[in-house]
Symmetry: C2
Subunit: 261 residues, 2 copies
DNA sequence: TATCATTTGTTCGTATGTATC
DNA sequence: CGATACATACGAACAAATGAT
């Protein structure tokens, strides 16, 4: 019954495992050169495609990085990551977010609210609500890592706070301010996931490999917990680390039980 | 000056790009079968290794899943992900965390505080401080996804709150309570990153592929912002989504500038 | 500056094994 | 059993980037 989840019989996998263990055990220093494919062929008595497959595994594991004409190098275990604070500050009526360096002019388009955005903004996909989409490309001052940032502003929200429709590409702190001025009491919630980047995402973020990207959706809620905005942020997981401050909340007298009829 | 970051010249990459776009555009339904390698060879006029390389790219992108003897199938775009709330509630002196189902008996070991743990607990690696490590294997009740959870309790912290040393494998809510009883005012901060799992991590979490895992480090700070505990949580990014509530903080009159001399 | 050896990247061909239907 | 499909493995060749001569 117990089905083998992973096949370790394959030669290239055995070689990859051995090398992975050696790397994680610290037998190869960070930045040091892995044996070349030719050397692997000789030491393990395998063919070139097999050696390549083993190194390819290490690459997708994020353990090594291959450079054309030079070799494969061990990536630093705990890479120089910069902390990306996902906090919001408030001074009076003005909300602030950690500053990032803008790299390009923001780009505004009209989109339909679909998929995760529809789910988080609590809209049905069938309605295909229109929205503004403001795309920003920024850099993390710490590491220089690129960050792509998109703000989705549903049209009905924009019509309630016209300042949003005029400058949907403004910094999010301004968008928050406009919503606060429109009488909303703002709260936020953030959803974090990760996945391997698609080719075009790789290009946008300047990634050379298929190492994962962190994706966060920040939803701004207004009065009555109505979702107003949805921001989507992409960043290379290997270079940045998200930081959240967790503030304890008052526990309700009776724990709400998720409906599951 | 503008260096080409990604080569799209490669045939297998071009094929992978086309297929990836078709999949993300919804031309293939979730769960539907991709053209077989033989079909790809014919339609694109390429060899078998090239067709395989293209499909392999799609696999590491997490777009498709290949099954021996059957074919490659499109993975659901927005997989059934469950939300993993990373919140802490408080009722009186008792702190609560969202409940997870324990899958195995916790396992306690003695470890040195190294790497990221040392960094977050603000200890120097050279000191190689001893600590308890309590490993829990749990499941997300929503999706049944496995979650591995490790608590690092430095020995000096344990000696200040002896209850910690007695039952380091207790639920974290109990650990928090013990620290609060020892006179600490607790605050938390969480660091999120992601990476491709190592073979043994794959096995622990029951993953069949190399799709990314989300890693969160939750640090518990006591009085004077002294780091007391470090929790590390691993979960498959494809099946879970972390949820953070963001509470605005009062902005300091003058923004503290990170020292960088 | 030019050449050469080394190393990875890409592509083909071919063969065999093994799971599924 | 046979056909189909993916998995593994070998061999071979050339391209392209790199670093040293």
């Amino acid at each position: 019954m117990a089905r083998e989840i992973i096949r370790h019989n394959a030669i290239y996998m055995q070689v990859a495992d051995q090398l992975a263990q050696a790397i994680t055990a610290g037998e190869y220093e960070a930045g040091s050169k892995l044996p070349s494919e030719t050397e692997l062929m000789e030491t393990y008595g395998i063919s070139r495609p097999t050696a390549r497959a083993a190194v390819s595994e290490l690459r997708t594991m994020g353990l090594v990085e291959s450079r054309h004409g030079r070799g494969s190098f061990v990536r630093p275990q705990s890479a120089p990551t910069s902390a990306l604070a996902r906090t919001i500050t408030r001074s009076g009526k003005r909300y602030g977010v950690p500053e990032l360096e803008a790299k390009e002019q923001p780009c505004v388009t009209r989109v339909h609210v679909l998929g995760t955005h529809a789910e988080l903004l609590q809209r049905r996909e069938e309605d295909a609500d229109d929205a503004f989409s403001a795309d920003h490309l920024m850099t993390d001052p710490g590491t220089g890592a690129r960050i792509s940032h998109r703000v989705i502003i549903p049209l009905d929200v924009a019509s309630e706070a016209p300042a949003l429709a005029e400058t949907p590409d403004a910094p999010v702190a301004d968008l928050y301010a406009h919503l606060a001025e429109a009488g909303h009491t703002l709260t936020w919630q953030e959803y974090v996931t990760a996945r391997t980047p698609l080719p075009d995402e790789r290009e946008v973020l300047g990634l050379t490999d298929a190492s994962p990207i962190l994706i966060t959706y920040r939803v701004t809620y207004g009065t009555g917990d109505r979702p107003l905005l949805c921001e989507e942020l992409h960043t290379a997981a290997a270079r940045s680390r998200l930081v959240y401050r967790i503030t304890p909340e008052k526990a309700p007298a009776k724990r709400p039980r998720p409906a599951k009829s």
